[in-house]
Every structure is written in structure tokens, then in C-alpha cells.
């Protein structure tokens, strides 16, 4: 079975750069959880029901990966990495990262990316 590939968007690149400087522990935690999610995708033949506490279902087939499970001594801020798994192409798109406060706007912006991806744009 072929392995999944990660593809980033410009929005994700900007967000991850910002988080690596301002919230490095939160970014590390979501990337660690993303690594687990990628292992799950590679281990499962098709769409699966991932029952890990750090995965949240979002509209249009998007998922949000949060910072839960981190061993940091500090209390980490709520952080969400928005992703979209394209099962036919086996590409995991990283759409953007955001906090709890701007969640609605982040989701709307990421949904636009998902529409573009789905229409092949």
C-alpha cells in the first residue's frame, strides 16, 4: 500500500512560522499528534474512525488536530491544526493553524481551501 504524502498550503506555512516563534510548545504538540494521525492513515486501507481524543470533525470532511496529550509542564493554549485527507490522491493537506478565539474564521478560510482542493484548483 502506498504511503500518504503531506502537502502544505501557504496559509499553513505562515501560521506554523508564527506559532513556532510565539507558541512553540503548542505547535510541537499539534505536530506530534499530526505524526500519529499520519501513522493512522498509513495503517488503515480506507477512511477510518480515528478514536483519539485530539481529533475533531469539522465541516466539509475537514479535521482539526489539537494540542492534547502534551507532556509540557505549562498549560498550553487551545490550538487547532486544520487538515483535509484526500483519500483518492492519498494526500494529507495542512490547511492552517489557529487558536480558540478565531476558530469560526479559521474554519471558514480552511473550507475555501477544501472546496478548491475538491474541484482540483
Amino acid at each position: 500500500m502506498a504511503e500518504w504524502t503531506i502537502e502544505t498550503t501557504g496559509q499553513y506555512d505562515r501560521d506554523s512560522k508564527y506559532y513556532s516563534k510565539k507558541h512553540p510548545e503548542e505547535l510541537t504538540a499539534v505536530l506530534d499528534n499530526l505524526d500519529t494521525y499520519l501513522l493512522l492513515l498509513n495503517a488503515c486501507a480506507g477512511p477510518f474512525q480515528a478514536t483519539a481524543g485530539f481529533i475533531h470533525n469539522e465541516p466539509d470532511g475537514m479535521k482539526a488536530i489539537d494540542q492534547k496529550g502534551s507532556k509540557s509542564r505549562n498549560k498550553l493554549q487551545q490550538t487547532r491544526l486544520y487538515i483535509y485527507a484526500h483519500h483518492e490522491k492519498q494526500i494529507l493537506y495542512l490547511l492552517g493553524i489557529g487558536g480558540k478565539s478565531g476558530q469560526g474564521e479559521d474554519i471558514q478560510r480552511c473550507r475555501e481551501f477544501v472546496r478548491l482542493i475538491r474541484t482540483g484548483g
Partner: protein, 192 residues
């Protein structure tokens, strides 16, 4: 769209940020390989943390703690407990970090050969038509899948002298052989 990566660690390496962050993030991922493996095992068996805890006779928070642990914090007992619940036997192995990837591929190729021969032995010993057919069909699939397994990464390679032409993948050569042989049978029948 942006860049493509085969792993999160490869993506972190390429990130446009300071080296200190990259080092810490990579180490964090590196230190949790076993707990992630246990999460994958549980999810691929369709179990929630609560369901696994119920079967293992422990609390959900215990399962949650194990799955968030660093590799150095997970006990052999934890791994045996997961194995018992999921009906899996624990196998532990070591390998030298200096072992080359090509040697690992050769090792696994040797293992594939070993198990394929075991299948052949089973088919011969049982002398059962349905088992024979099952093994034969498995071999047909394996020939196609193993070829595809090699061709897909190979097609991503770029090197001087490599032809730009796309690789033509024959999806089911044995089916084609069958249809040829069926065609030959029909021709024979027709000639009779």
C-alpha cells in the same frame, strides 16, 4: 499548493524557523514511537480508549496516560496488556542503527520469500482444491502488488538518463495470460 513531504519530521526539517524549535519538535516525535504505535493498534482494531480499558480491566485514564507516554515510560506489561486485548502476540527485536535501508529491504524480501514458500507447502500438504485456488489467487495478487510496490517509489526518482516516458503498469498480467489461454482453448474447441 505548497510543498510535499513524506513525514512530519521531514516537514519540520524544512520549516522556515529557528533550529532550536526544529530540534525540540523532532525529539518530541522521536520519543513517542511506541505510544503512537499503540494508538494505531487500538484504532485499527476499531476500539475507543474506553472500550480497550474495559477489556483490559483498567480505567480509560490509564489507557490515555499510556498513549501519551514517552517510550521510556511504557512498561513491557503495558504492551502485553494491549496484545492480550487485541489478540496479538508481542514480539520484541533489536537492530543496529547502522543497518542500511537496502539491507532492511533485502531482509524483508527474504521473509516474504520464506512465507510464500510456507503457503506453497500448505497448498501441497492439504491437497484441497479450495485452498489451492486461494493460494493461487493470492500469488496472482502478490505478483501485481509487489511490482506496484517497487514501481511507485521508483517512478518518483529522477536521475540522468532516466526516460521521461511514463512507466506502463500492466495491472494483471496473469489475467491476461488466462484470457490468452482461454482464447487458445476456444480456438482448439473451434478446430475440433
Amino acid at each position: 499548493m505548497g510543498k510535499q513531504y513524506n513525514s512530519v519530521r521531514a516537514m519540520i526539517k524544512e520549516m522556515d524557523t529557528d533550529a532550536g524549535f526544529k530540534e525540540k519538535a523532532e525529539l518530541e516525535i522521536e520519543n513517542r514511537q511506541i505510544s503512537k504505535f499503540l494508538v494505531v493498534l487500538r484504532c485499527t482494531h476499531g476500539l475507543t480508549q474506553k472500550q480497550l480499558a474495559g477489556k483490559a480491566g483498567c480505567t480509560q485514564s490509564r489507557v490515555s496516560k499510556i498513549e501519551a507516554s514517552y517510550d521510556t515510560e511504557i512498561s513491557v506489561k503495558d504492551m502485553i496488556d494491549y496484545g492480550k486485548v487485541l489478540n496479538l502476540k508481542l514480539e520484541i527485536g533489536y537492530r543496529k542503527p547502522t543497518v542500511k535501508i537496502v539491507d532492511l529491504i533485502k531482509y524483508h524480501a527474504g521473509k516474504i520469500s520464506f512465507y510464500l514458500n510456507q503457503l506453497v507447502e500448505i497448498a501441497r500438504d492439504k491437497d484441497d482444491e479450495s485452498i489451492n485456488e486461494g493460494v493461487f489467487n493470492f500469488f496472482k495478487e502478490a505478483i501485481v502488488n509487489i511490482n506496484a510496490l517497487i514501481l511507485k517509489p521508483y517512478s518518483k526518482l529522477t536521475f540522468p538518463g532516466k526516460s521521461d516516458k511514463n512507466i506502463i503498469h500492466i495491472s494483471a498480467p496473469l489475467d491476461a495470460m488466462e484470457s490468452i489461454s482461454n482464447g487458445a482453448d476456444n480456438t482448439n474447441k473451434a478446430s475440433k
